[in-house]
């Protein structure tokens, strides 16, 4: 497990978040989280359950782990991210997803994934963005950026590429989807307000 502690952590947090509605208090949630960690180690066909799941979902980025880690901690009393903070984080990761995936999957000759192997320009831009998030008190996005960058600096994952610590396809889909929903909701509210004014 020591070689693959990040997938085990991801498994435990994901299963915990799915099952946490079944619990009533912090003690029960603590027991559930410990149980999820133990479940992640359960061997199935030669590898642990967490690694079986990893086969199908791949490795989650550190930023994703920060988001689901924050969601987990909020079940233990830490205040959940505010709407403004959440929106800023979603916009950040949606922007990264749009920059990375279409071109990295072959849409252009330029491959932004290569930037992650020589990431000084990315570090400069994301460092400035992180400073903006801190000044705006968008803690979730700032924490995700700082911990992803720290994990990259320490090469905590198997990848040598900065992008793999920042984003994964699930975070990309979630960010884009949630942002679209938020945009749609905002548009509906504006339209209904205008209709009411006209009436």
């Amino acid at each position: 497990m020591t070689d693959f502690w990040l997938p085990h952590l991801a498994f435990a947090l994901l299963v915990f978040l799915i099952l946490t509605r079944l619990t009533r208090n912090t003690t029960q949630r603590g027991i559930l989280l410990a149980g999820c960690l133990l479940l992640s180690l359960l061997p199935v066909q030669g590898i642990s359950l967490a690694l079986q799941l990893r086969t199908y979902i791949g490795d989650l980025s550190v930023a994703s782990l920060v988001l689901i880690g924050w969601a987990t901690l909020s079940r233990f009393g830490i205040p959940p991210a505010g709407a403004h903070d959440r929106l800023a984080s979603l916009a950040l990761f949606a922007g990264l997803a749009v920059l990375l995936y279409p071109a990295a999957l072959g849409l252009s000759y330029a491959d932004p994934y290569q930037l992650g192997f020589e990431p000084r320009p990315m570090l400069l831009v994301l460092g400035l963005l992180c400073a903006v998030l801190i000044v705006q008190r968008s803690w979730l996005g700032a924490l995700a950026l700082v911990l992803a960058t720290l994990a990259f600096a320490l090469r905590l994952g198997a990848s040598e590429n900065y992008w793999d610590y920042l984003i994964d396809p699930y975070l990309a889909l979630y960010s884009l989807g949630a942002l679209l929903l938020a945009g749609g909701r905002w548009l509906l509210i504006r339209l209904s307000t205008r209709t009411r004014k006209l009436a």
Binding site: G46, Q52, L100
Partner: protein, 425 residues
């Protein structure tokens, strides 16, 4: 005031983290290609044929070969009940230069050993590439699939510090941001002067395009550079032409050209020209190329519009403007590749088996197996495909390829033998 101090402290902490990452992420230039081997001393023409594999039961495919110090060789290929089967293993054999014989096969990697080491369920294994680095570390790269078909491939690396006696556990290279899927390997790596490794790879998911993966001498991924884009080129074979220039020949999988594509790099593999079709036909089949001491290239391929029933050896200049055939290492008796009658097949294939160095004591079993594999109600066909080239430190060329999916055939020849071949346009 406290809030401002807190913000300043957080900004300082974040800046420290980003600064640490900055200093640990120094940009790396691609070193020049390692110097080319000099022309060998005068030697009489020599050519030999062997089978590198010996198992008669399994489907064998996608061979690679590398020279070892002292004239020995090691070849690796995949073998199993069929391509893509769960029982496919990466197998290898060693050629002993003193006896002139290939050893028995051994298994280098299997599905379960790979699964244990990389921490993922593995469905199947695919193309292996074996290569001796200038520092005498022997590398094995091979494809594994956890999910779906070949589009779900990842590349694994193993290394041996004792020329193939013992091997490290496999490690999966992270080469793609999308679930680390869809990177495959097929052709020989090239080496840079600083010992780093240039591994030609290809992407096969939403598109099909070739890439140049740059690894450190320790096998860490340093970069990945796109050779082409789109949906119709794959399996690049890269030849260094001088310190900075290289050419990549590409298998063509589209509907427009039906020819080999070529792309050039002038900066040691960092950027590549737009792939253009060159003269020989390519029926969407794998090809192999190797550099010669005079700067020209030797290329093995199925120069056909359809099928893989003939393997042809070509010589071409570095500009790929003058292609000359040097003969056909293997071909079907029917020039159009049509099936031959079943009653003629045993005599024809047995003659080819003996000419390829097949063991007489295995001939009866071979005939039974090859008939079952290559014959149908319409007749019997031949397949000579997936060539792979290397040139060893003594200057001898080694070509391996799939021989009717029954054996891995090995041809060894020298420059003098090539000079004797009468080229024809």
């Amino acid at each position: 005031m406290t809030s401002t101090l807190k913000t300043c402290a957080l900004l300082l902490g974040a800046a420290t983290v980003f600064a640490c990452a900055w200093f640990g992420a120094a940009p790396h230039a691609l070193a020049p290609f390692a110097s080319q081997l000099p022309a060998p001393a005068d030697a009489p023409p020599a050519m030999a044929a062997h089978f590198a594999s010996s198992d008669l039961e399994d489907f064998v495919h996608s061979a690679s070969i590398t020279g070892l110090p002292g004239g020995d060789l090691m070849a690796a290929w995949f073998a199993g009940t069929r391509e893509g089967a769960a029982d496919v293993q990466i197998r290898a054999a060693r050629f002993d230069a003193s006896s002139g014989q290939w050893s028995a096969e051994r298994v280098l990697a299997g599905r379960e050993s790979t699964q244990r080491a990389v921490g993922k369920h593995i469905r199947k294994l695919g193309n292996p590439v074996i290569s001796l680095a200038p520092d005498n570390r022997l590398w094995l790269f091979y494809v594994s699939v956890s999910l779906g078909g070949w589009a779900g491939s990842a590349v694994n690396a193993m290394v041996s510090d004792d020329l193939g006696d013992t091997w490290s556990a496999p490690r999966q290279l992270v080469t793609s941001p999308f679930l680390n899927i869809s990177t495959l390997v097929r052709a020989a790596p090239v080496f840079h002067a600083d010992g780093s490794i240039g591994l030609p790879v290809y992407h096969e998911f939403l598109g099909k395009f070739p890439e140049y993966l740059h690894l450190s001498a320790a096998g860490e991924v340093l970069g990945k550079y796109r050779i082409g884009k789109g949906r119709d080129s794959l399996q690049p074979t890269v030849v260094a032409l001088d310190e900075r220039r290289a050419v990549a020949l590409l298998r063509y999988a589209g509907e427009e050209h039906h020819r080999v594509l070529a792309s050039y790099s002038e900066d040691a593999g960092r950027s590549w020209s737009y792939p253009q079709p060159v003269e020989p036909s390519n029926p969407n089949s794998s090809l192999a190329a190797v550099g010669r001491p005079d700067g020209s290239l030797l290329v093995a391929m199925n120069d056909l519009e359809d099928g893989r029933f003939r393997l042809t050896l070509y010589a071409t200049d570095a500009n790929l403007g003058n292609w000359r055939t040097l003969g056909e290492p293997d071909e079907t008796p029917n020039p159009w590749g049509e099936p031959i009658p079943r009653d003629e097949f045993p005599a024809v294939v047995s003659e080819k088996y003996r000419a390829s160095g097949g063991k007489p004591e295995q001939q009866a079993r071979f005939l039974e197996q090859v008939t079952a594999r290559m014959c149908s109600a319409e007749g019997c066909t031949f397949d000579y495909e997936y060539p792979y080239f290397t040139r060893d430190r003594e200057g001898t060329y080694h070509l391996v390829y799939s021989w009717n999916d029954m054996f891995i055939k090995h041809l060894a020849f020298n420059e003098a033998w090539l000079s004797e071949r009468r080229p024809h346009d």
